[in-house]
Point group: D2
Chain length 173, copies 4
């Protein structure tokens, strides 16, 4: 398993697609964004679910956490059943988020990857992509890494996704 953690617009999903292209065997991509899209529409806007305010702050409710925990269990089971998986997440809780994943992935070999990006650069890319609430990238850029321990760290500020993917792939053995 590979778990990527980084703020919004730090370039995680581009790295995931490049990893899938450079790794010799087929890896499945499982993103927190895909989990969010699997929720009922009402939970993507309400108090119990996940909400994004106008300046990009993200709030997450208890019901979201409960379903997310079940999803994490499912990701682990998919890996145990033989599918190599690249997870792409935003550790809003920093070290506590990593702890939740660590518990869910017990017994699996995990490569923890930190995806860094200068907050101002991430905010520029947020404007360029045009589909995110402006402010989310800057808010999350450092927050998500607080207290998190990594095996590999990449920084997309001056390095392309493909080069980051090659750095990560070189750590696999």
């Amino acid at each position: 398993m590979i778990v990527l953690n980084g703020g919004s617009s730090s370039g995680k999903s581009g790295i995931v697609r490049c990893l899938q292209a450079v790794l010799p065997a087929p890896w499945l991509a499982m993103a927190i964004d895909t989990f969010v899209e699997s929720l009922p529409a009402a939970m993507r806007a309400g108090d119990a679910g996940i909400g994004v305010d106008v300046d990009g702050g993200v709030t997450v409710g208890a019901e979201f956490r409960r379903l997310e925990a079940a999803w994490m269990t499912g990701v682990a089971a998919t890996a145990h059943a033989g599918a190599p998986i690249i997870v792409d997440d935003v550790f809003l809780g920093g070290a506590a988020s990593q702890e939740r994943w660590r518990a869910a992935l017990a017994g699996l070999e995990v490569l923890w990857v930190g995806v860094h990006c200068d907050p101002a650069v991430a905010e520029g890319r947020e404007i360029a992509r045009g589909d995110r609430a402006i402010g989310m990238a800057a808010k999350q850029a450092t927050l998500v890494h607080e207290g998190v321990l990594y095996d590999v760290e990449v920084d997309t500020t001056h390095t392309e996704s493909l080069a980051c993917a090659r750095t990560i792939a070189a750590q696999m053995h």
Copy 2:
């Protein structure tokens, strides 16, 4: 668990969204299409993965089947961990596909739902949506139901997604 089976353009994903809206608790939507998108790009075009030919025929390779089996195990584990799940699949193998799901979901209560649609109507909707290879809907319309056993069957030919969802929800207890 609810498992919906129907051909391409039969209206499954619309029914899933309506089910999520009408069911009182939050249900997660897990679609075979989302699994396909989680594969490396190379597997969405090659012999080992999944391919769609110009007249809408779908071929699936051994590596696809192996990863899909792991994904099914993960879906089951997510449900066992407490998240109610609506699966939306296309049983290209008919009864054999159902058997694979039945094995993966052992120990879970499952509502099997058949989503029918007149082939000519499905083909018209395939033209109207504009994002699928023309021919897939007609090819799959009856094929996917061969030998499959259901708890509920709906037909979207003359019935709206929301009404189908209400019929299905009425079977939950």
Copy 3:
């Protein structure tokens, strides 16, 4: 030129794709939604531009109207230059909206098409598609047709997009 008018989720864009499939020559599709996407992100959320409130009400500012008028002029010029065009719009102003198009399209032969849909059915489809503010479909269903004059009217409540497209195409000569 063909101009389709109907409320949100009445099925206009499906009819447009079917029209493009059944008409012998290639027609260009030009939708008000595409115009909205061509605006700066800031105008898709602000007072000067276009806004959608939580219950699906749409408000449009003066700057939006000014740029929209320029776009209408451009659509007319594209048609005068020899490209047959299918416009897909939502006449929020009813007869006044039609009057604006009539002025912009002076000198062109236009087939005016009304796309009706029962408000409750349109609201169900709005839930099924999952990407629109709930309430917009019901709010617009009858409003957009007030005082508008048509050459052809179709109703998607019980008729498929492809059949509606054939009805419309049969009026071309």
Copy 4:
């Protein structure tokens, strides 16, 4: 008017969104990709329209050229009617493509912008975005600039979209 020219995956659309964010007045974005999407589905795959082969080569037919010319006339008319416009195109014909735009935009003040990107970097970004035929970026990277004259040139190889947009905006007067 601003006309941006650059190869696939050179970063044009990100620059367009940043330009819309940094320019004080609202500018409309009109991309060749949007024109292609306005064509009938059959023309996006056939000989008369536009086709992309497996290694990313693009071929364009006579009917495509005829409709594209009408679209260019429409873009010019929209600008004459008072809407400032940012065009985002791929000059597959190099200087000849610029000549076609120059003729269509006669009488309008145009800022011609070249968007360069190192072919290897563009190819990496093509892999990272995951929605384009691999090979298109490298094929087009230098080809589209042959014989084209610019007022401003930016290079996204080492410069972010937002910084490129600021360089371009600084040339407006």
